[in-house]
Every structure is written in C-alpha cells, then in structure tokens.
Symmetry: D2
Subunit: 118 residues, 4 copies
C-alpha cells in the first residue's frame, strides 16, 4: 500500500501545488474550506441515502465512495495548509483526548448516543 | 512538523487501535462513518456559522477548528480502514482527475460556481 | 393538529419577530443561513449516527428529533424571510418538477441511487 | 403570497401524496430522511461555497437557492409525516424555548459563537 510510505506532508504538498497552480489560494480560506468539507461529506453521505446499512457496496458504489472520501480528505489537507497545521499532531492529540473521554473499559461495545450523551 | 515523518499507514493504525480497543468495529460500518463524517464536518462549519469570512480566527476559535478538523480526519481514516482503502492512492488519483477536469490554464483565478457548473 | 390551521405566513412571522427582537437580521444573511441549515441538519443526523436504521426511536430520542427538526425548519423559514420567498410556492413548484422527473409509473417502489442516477 | 393561505397540513398532504404514489414510504424512514435533509442542506450550502458572504445573488443563483431550499423543506415535511409530528407545534415550542435561552435584552445584536457558547 502507498499508505505505508506516503507521509502527510507529501499529500499536503500535492494539494498545495494543485491549489497554487490555479491561483486558488484566495478561495481556500478557512470559512470556505469548512463549507467545502461539509459539501463533500454530504456527497459521500448521499451514496448511503436510501441504502440499508447492511447492504454491501457493489463495485460502482465502492468507486463513488472512494472518490467522495478522497474529496473530503483533499479539502482537509488544504485546510491544514491554509491554517499552517500539523495534521498528524492534531489527530494524535485528539485521539489521546478521546482515549481519556471514552475509556476502553467503560465504553467497550457501547456506542455514544447523541440523544443521551450530548 | 510531525507531518514530515508520519505516514498515512501510521495514523490509520492508531485509529484502528482506538476502535478495536472499544470493540467499536461493529459501529464503524461504511454507512455510519459517512454519517459521522458529515456530523463532524458540520461541527467544524458551526465555528464559522455567524462569522464574517474575512474575520481572523483567534486562539480559542483556532483550537476548536483544530479539534473538529481532527475529528473529520479521524473518521476518514476509520472509513479507509473499514473499506480496506489505500487513502494515498485514492487521493492522488482524485487529484489527477481534478487536474484534467480543471486545467490550470482555463481555471486560473476562477472558482467553480455550483449554480452554473454543476 | 395545529398544522391544520397554521399557515406558512404565520410561522414566518413568528420567526421574523424572534430575529428582529434580537437585532439579528444582520446575521441572518443567505450565506449564513445556508450554513445554519446544514449545521442543524447534522445535529438531527447525529441522533441516527450509530443507530440501526430499523431501531425504533424511544421517547428521549423522539424528543430530540423533534427539537432538531424544528431548528432546521426555523432556519428555512428565516431564509424565506431574508430572501423574500413564497415558501409554499417554491415547494409546490419543486414537487411538480419532481413529478415529471420521477414519473410514478417508472419509479414505483424504486429509490433513486446516487451512485447510478447522479 | 400563497404563504398567507397555505397551511402546513396542506403542504404535508402534498408531500405524502407524492411519496405514496411512488410507494416510497418504505424509503422515507426517519434515519433515511435525516440523511436526505443533510444532503439537500449541503446542496444549498454548495451554492455559497466559494462566494463572498456579501456578494448578492443573481437570478440564476437565486433560482437554484429556491430549489435547494424547497428540497430541504420537502424532506422536513416528509419527516413530520413519517413521525406523525405536528410541525407547527414543535416549531412554536422550539421558538419559545429559544426565547428563554436567548433573552432579547441580553442577546440584542450579539451572535452566538459556537467556539465559546457550545
């Protein structure tokens, strides 16, 4: 897998090149990227809109899921570029915070329920 | 920056460990993760809800943006785990596709307008 | 049901009063309301995030669903106010358009599949 | 304006007819409608994705905004049908709750800031 050797910095650089080549930095401001991430997330969600949760993805749907997931990740990488963020660092810090908020012992096998644990 | 040395596979493994330690694989199915990515994307968007686009982020808002962006990325990594995806590969393929859909020469300085270029 | 006697104009007026009493017209611009509608829609979605599609809503979840659905509708009414829209009119026109796009004969019992019918 | 004479019940009935004529009640379950509302909200948001907040809507964009707003409202009406909700009632109750949460005196001219008032 390319994931074994590809660093976050390498992907961030590819996205930065794409944006710079189109002179799109002026559009890739934080507020716009927040909108873009929501829009792409919804395009991913749309693929599951009327689908049973347990219905397996066929090849066509899987291809579309890959594309829409890629779009979400690309805008997240662009947001990290615009905001000068170390994405690995904020991901690892958030995981550490989640570790203490959701201790494995207490939460094993139990999902957070937004109607009860807001 | 940790991003220089952190591979996608390293972050995916951290997320997989977190999920496995809680026996949450049964919740991290593709349809649920699509919902989770949209929900976290909206929590990021909420931070810009009433804000002028040009209003700079102060330290409190910046900290919250980092956390919510991390949440989106964490669920994207979990989706890649659940679906067995090579995230670097699908990101690079999508960027290549965008390169040919939006040639730099034609699109320089011009944003896609969803009302006209659907 | 109050729905039998409550007109759209009555609800729009209630929302307009609420906004005006707080001098919030300056925040309720179209772009901000589009963000607000997405944010509230995601708070509704969150209630179903880890839930099986077939799992019935208990009283607590049903109460939360009602509140979040109300929030989405309130911002839609505010958007209609800000943009000077006749909401009944645009809803009926969109239903008419959907009638011709999805003829009952052809679509009976069959859902639109976003992976195939984009 | 049609909004002056159109009741919520009238619009709910139109949506129910549309759904029933296609035998789509089986798809219009609460969890699916929550996804649909988020997806349509994002299609509305997309129209503002790269737009300055202060940039006025031209006729093409205004037409698209009307259609996407209508889609959000149609799925909200369908959710009220599926869940047997009195939409006017839940909207008025939520507005009353917001009245006490955000007293006009205290909040006049000041927006809620999600980074500080979660």
């Amino acid at each position: 897998m390319a994931d074994e050797t590809t660093t976050i910095a390498m992907l961030k650089a590819k996205v930065a090149d794409f944006v710079r080549a189109r002179d799109w930095e002026k559009f890739h401001r934080p507020a716009n990227l927040a909108k873009a991430i929501s829009v792409e997330a919804a395009e991913l969600l749309e693929l599951f809109q009327w689908r049973e949760d347990t219905q397996p993805l066929d090849a066509v749907a899987q291809g579309r899921v890959e594309e829409e997931l890629a779009d979400v990740v690309i805008y997240c990488l662009s947001a990290a570029n615009t905001l000068g963020l170390d994405l690995s660092d904020i991901v690892l810090r958030k995981l550490a915070r989640n570790e203490s908020r959701y201790p494995a012992k207490e939460w094993r096998g139990r999902a957070r329920d937004a109607a009860r644990d807001p």
